[in-house]
Symmetry: C2
Subunit: 340 residues, 2 copies
């Protein structure tokens, strides 16, 4: 089969790979209907995360079950399924508390490379959720979004306690930030401030439910959010970038006692404990437990209540994965769908 | 009147000071019945916080109202009162949300120096709470504890979401850590792990409700807490020290999705954002909004349900404040009560 391999920063190639097979009785192998390039894939692509030799890449996927291990009970061959980038048993104490991305048996599905024709998914019963039937073609981008960026945006909005009567600010206008806006809107947030300086992304932010746009960043961005909130700051702030600057912008934009969710992947940043202490805001971040939200998100997509697939503004054949990475890296595309 | 002044690190003197008067119509002046030395007072005492010339010190107090400004309605001359170290209007949006320590009109009461015979308390209506009557002498230490260390321990337990069915770990065995144990017990926590290596403090921890003692620190302490919790970590962890080491010990001891409250005053520590991200725990810290808890705490003390005054293991006349600081600094005393 064909699959994307990262050889070194900036070097993505689609090559022949062995077609995956069921290795564990809890595995499933799916025929990938669509995959995509994630903002977090840009870390190794840009060299801000090491690349350890030729490595299969991609961790967002939807597809049709091709083969299942003998212990798999919840899904069957032929099902159209969506799963999180983190495989989870969905039965341990951590999963039951809603933190499937930290399951005691967690595995990173992306290690198997989802930007490919086929994908082996561990812990299939706990990881994959089947749609009610075979989806219409136009629903596939939205279902694919649920696999990571929508689920992550949703975790951000829930962790930031967005809801009725709340003012929510979103730092970051990538796919996750934009879908956090959609999720906050779904949760009933009264006012949603999108922090964005890119016209096309601002448009999508407004379409997804943003009520205000703040173009300023850093201290100026914080001042602007305070100006919009009687000097207090937003109740709920979602950080969807993953740098020290974006974290401090998010914390500064939050009122005392408010909630900051940080879903941008954090790397080497060091955060000043004193500023965190005196800001006195709730903080919750980490790899999103997407599995928690999948049933509800699939339902909302299936009923065409939400259309998160709009974040895909470039669709390419899998063979052109390298161009997809370039387009994301240069911010020519918000998010790139790869069709095997 | 007599009052403690810090002149430089290590240099506390009790001297003649002007008796405070009502300056604002919202002020009250109280005759201090008891004050005490706080762990946070040791920061300037040890030179880990700058001392800007001769400065009145102390921010924990109980006493009798001596004089009130013309706008004060909720308390009257002669009332026995307790207040937080942070003055708050208790009416603004932030106060109403329960974060009085970040009130839009907040003032640090300690700037007026509570280790003294008299103290001016700003925003008296929002800051002070009167007891049902004049307290018996033996209740005074417990009421004084409510002014900071008990209120802070209580905030820690609430912010860490201690409660029925929860395993709680407490990092730090100073007065705040010990009273966080008492508060977690009051909230119905199932199991309370005290992280302490001092025999006298362990004894008090057990008396306040701890079920387990862990003497190890750092990575070894984390491993021990995990061993006691099926490898998962505690649901709720209260950090009551205020260093990078204690913060990382607290975060490491918490299960994914669990809650860390950090109430030790943080200074120059830098926290690794990546470790925070991948730990995926809730974090909330800051100066405790003691005012939120005062009515309930006074009630519990008045009815002799709790006896937080046990943290005072040394009582000295105000004149001997310098010895009180020495005893705290050398960890000869858990907490020192100063009687004017």
């Amino acid at each position: 089969m064909r699959g994307a391999i990262i050889h070194a920063p900036g070097d993505i190639r689609v090559e022949d790979r062995d077609k995956p097979v069921v290795e564990q009785p809890t595995d499933a192998v799916i025929k990938v209907a669509a995959a995509c390039v994630c903002g977090s894939d840009l870390h190794p692509y840009r060299g801000t995360e090491p690349v350890d030799g030729a490595t299969p890449i991609g961790h967002e996927y939807v597809g049709v079950v091709e083969e299942i291990g003998e212990d798999v009970k919840n899904i069957k061959v032929g099902d159209f399924v969506i799963g999180s980038f983190m495989a989870s048993d969905n039965t341990c104490e951590i999963c039951r508390a809603g933190y499937q991305s930290k399951c005691v048996h967690v595995e990173f599905v992306g290690a198997n490379g989802a930007q490919a024709e086929y994908l082996r998914v561990p812990l299939a019963d706990g990881t994959l959720v089947a749609t009610p039937g075979q989806p219409d073609q136009d629903l596939i981008p939205s279902l694919l979004a649920a696999s990571d960026v929508l689920g992550t945006g949703c975790f951000g909005a829930v962790a930031a306690e967005a809801g009725p009567g709340k003012t929510v600010a979103v730092v970051g206008d990538g796919a996750v930030g934009l879908l956090a806006i959609l999720a906050a809107k779904q949760l009933g947030a009264e006012r949603i401030i999108a922090m964005s300086r890119h016209e096309s992304r601002q448009r999508l932010a407004l379409e997804f439910g943003a009520t205000d746009i703040v173009e300023e960043r850093g201290a100026e961005g914080v001042a602007k959010v305070k100006e919009l909130t009687n000097g207090l700051g937003a109740h709920s702030v979602i950080e969807a970038v993953g740098t020290k600057e974006s974290m401090m912008q998010a914390i500064g934009s939050t009122r005392p006692g408010g909630h900051v969710a940080y879903v941008g992947v954090q790397h080497d940043a060091q955060l000043p404990a004193g500023e965190l202490f005196f800001a006195e805001v709730h903080l919750l971040g980490g790899p999103a437990p997407v599995r928690r939200f999948l049933p509800e998100l699939i339902d909302l997509i299936w009923n065409r209540t939400i259309d998160p697939g709009k974040v895909f503004d470039l669709t390419l054949p899998l063979e052109d994965a390298a161009e997809g990475y370039r387009a994301m890296d240069e911010r020519r595309a918000i998010k790139v769908l790869l069709a095997p």
